[in-house]
Amino acid sequence: MTPPEPSSYLVLALLLVAALLFGLTPLALAWLWARFFSPAKPGPTKHAIYECGLESRGDAWIQFRSGYYLYAILFLIFDVETVFLLPFAVAFGGLSIGGFVAMMVFILLLAEGLVWAWQKGVLAWK
C-alpha cells in the first residue's frame, strides 16, 4: 500500500508526539514518584554548584573564546551550501552542460571562501 505523500508527513506528526511523550513521560513519572513516595532532603552542600568538590568561585558567566562564534558564522555559509548541493545531486542525471558548469562555479566560489578564511587564519585554533 503506497499512501499519498501528505500521509507520510502525517506519520511524522504522529512520531513527533510519540518521541516527545517518550522523553517527557519518565520525567513526569519520576516527579510524581518523588512527590508521593520520597520526601525531598535538601541541603546547602547538596544544592551547591558542583566543581570537583572545591567550593565554586565567581560567576558561571565566564568569558570564553570568540573562536567558537567564528566557526558558527562559517557554519551558516557552508550549511546553506550543502542544502543547495543536494538538489544538484538529484537533478544531476538530466542536467545540461550549462547547469553543470554553473554548479561547478558555485562550488568554486565556496571553495574560494574557505581558502580566504583559511588565509585569514580563522580556521586555526590558537
Binding site: M1, A72, F100
Partner: protein, 349 residues
C-alpha cells in the same frame, strides 16, 4: 483481519504506522539498554576486568537494575539552575534520535507493507534537519546548569557538532550524485545488485568522512570533548542526577544506534545481501523477517565497532579536532564532490 479492511484507508494507514512506530521504539530501546551492557562488558574485556556480573547471569539484568535505580533516586534540582530549561533539556536530547529513525528502511517488505515509518522523497534532507536539532538539547543543558563545567561542555559541543555537520553533509553529496535520489529506499535498492555496488566500495572517501563526522556528531571518543571526564568532570550533564541523567545517557546511545543504522543504509547496503536472492525486496514473510535480521546484524556490527573504538583510541585536543574538521574533512569533501561529478559527467557523455 476483516475489521482492518473495513476501515477507511487513512485509518488503516494510521493504525499500521502506529504499530510500526511502537515496534521500532521497542526494538530501539532494547538495543539502547543492551548497548550499555555490551559497552561495559567490552570495556571490561579490553581492560582485563570482569565487568557487570552480579545481576542475573553474566549481569544480563543490569540494564533493568540501572533503570530502576535511576528512577528511584532522589531527583533534586540544584538551587542555581534555570529550572524550565533544566527540566526540558533531557527530553529534548532524546527526541531527535527518535525522529531520525522515521526514514530509515529497516527491512524491505513484510506482508506487503514497506518496512519504513515514513518513506519520504526528501529523505536525507529530513535527516540533516533533525540531526541539527540534536545540538540544542546539549547546549540547553550546559546553559541551564548555570555552572562552569557544563557551560564549557555545552559551548564545546555546539562548535564541534556544527563543524562536523558540514563535513557530514558534504560527504553524502557524492553518494546522492551516484544514486540520483534522496529517498533512502532508493539508496538501498541502488546498492542491492552486487557487493561492489555498496557505496563503501564505490565511494570509500565519502564513507571515511561520514564515519569520522558521525563519531563527532555522537560525541564519542576520539571526539568526546564536550564530556571529557578529566577536564570537565563530565561536561554538560554534571549538574544532573537520577532519571534526567539517565535520559542523557539513553539519548547518547539512541543517537549511536540511529547513526549506525544510517551508515548501514547509506554505505553498507541496508537490508540487502548480494546473494541467495536477498538483494530483491521480499515477497514472503520469511524473507521479510530475514531482511530485518540482516539490517539489524549489520547495524549491531557497526555499533560494536563504535564501542570498540572508544576503548582503543585517545582523545583529540580541541585544536586538532577543529583542524581535522575544517582543514581536512571539509576540503576533502568538496574535492570528492567535484571529482565525482566530473567523472560521472564524463562517463555519461
Amino acid at each position: 483481519m476483516d475489521w482492518i479492511n473495513q476501515l477507511s484507508p487513512l485509518w488503516q494507514f494510521t493504525l499500521i504506522s502506529s504499530v510500526k512506530i511502537l515496534c521500532v521504539f521497542s526494538v530501539l530501546m532494547f538495543i539502547v539498554a543492551y548497548a550499555v551492557w555490551v559497552e561495559r562488558k567490552v570495556a571490561a574485556a579490553i581492560q582485563d576486568r570482569i565487568g557487570p556480573n552480579r545481576v542475573g547471569i553474566f549481569g544480563l539484568l543490569q540494564p533493568l537494575a540501572d533503570a530502576g535505580k535511576a528512577f528511584l533516586k532522589e531527583d533534586f534540582t540544584p538551587d542555581h539552575v534555570r529550572k524550565a530549561y533544566y527540566w526540558l533539556a533531557p527530553a529534548i536530547v532524546m527526541t531527535p534520535s527518535l525522529l531520525t529513525v522515521a526514514i530509515i528502511p529497516f527491512g524491505s517488505y513484510l506482508g506487503g507493507e514497506k518496512m519504513v515509518i515514513a518513506d519520504l522523497s526528501v529523505g536525507v534532507l529530513y535527516t540533516f534537519g533533525i540531526v541539527s536539532l540534536g545540538v540544542y538539547g546539549i547546549v540547553l543543558a550546559g546553559y541551564a546548569a548555570n555552572s562552569k563545567y557544563p557551560f564549557l561542555g555545552g559551548i564545546r559541543a555546539s562548535s564541534q557538532m556544527i563543524s562536523y555537520e558540514i563535513a557530514m553533509g558534504l560527504s553524502v553529496v557524492p553518494v546522492f550524485l551516484m544514486v540520483g535520489d534522496l529517498n533512502l529506499t532508493a539508496v538501498v535498492q541502488y546498492q542491492a545488485g552486487s557487493l561492489f555496488d555498496w557505496l563503501i566500495f564505490k565511494q570509500p572517501l565519502a564513507f571515511a568522512i561520514f564515519v569520522a563526522a558521525m563519531f563527532a556528531e555522537m560525541n564519542r571518543l576520539p571526539f568526546d570533548l564536550p564530556e571529557a571526564e578529566q577536564e570537565l568532570a563530565g561536561g554538560y550533564n554534571v549538574e544532573y542526577s537520577s532519571i534526567k541523567f539517565a535520559l542523557f545517557f539513553m539519548g547518547e546511545y539512541a543517537a549511536m544506534t540511529v547513526g549506525s543504522a544510517l551508515l548501514v543504509t547509506l554505505c553498507l547496503g541496508g537490508w540487502s545481501l548480494p546473494f541467495a536472492g536477498l538483494d530483491q525486496p521480499a515477497s514472503t514473510w520469511l524473507g521479510g523477517f530475514l531482511h530485518i535480521g540482516i539490517f539489524l546484524a549489520k547495524m549491531l556490527f557497526v555499533e560494536f565497532t563504535i564501542i570498540w573504538v572508544r576503548w582503543m583510541w585517545p582523545r583529540f585536543r580541541y585544536d586538532q579536532l577543529m583542524n581535522l574538521g575544517w582543514r581536512r574533512l571539509v576540503p576533502l569533501g568538496l574535492a570528492n564532490i567535484v571529482v565525482t561529478a566530473v567523472v560521472l559527467w564524463a562517463l555519461a557523455k
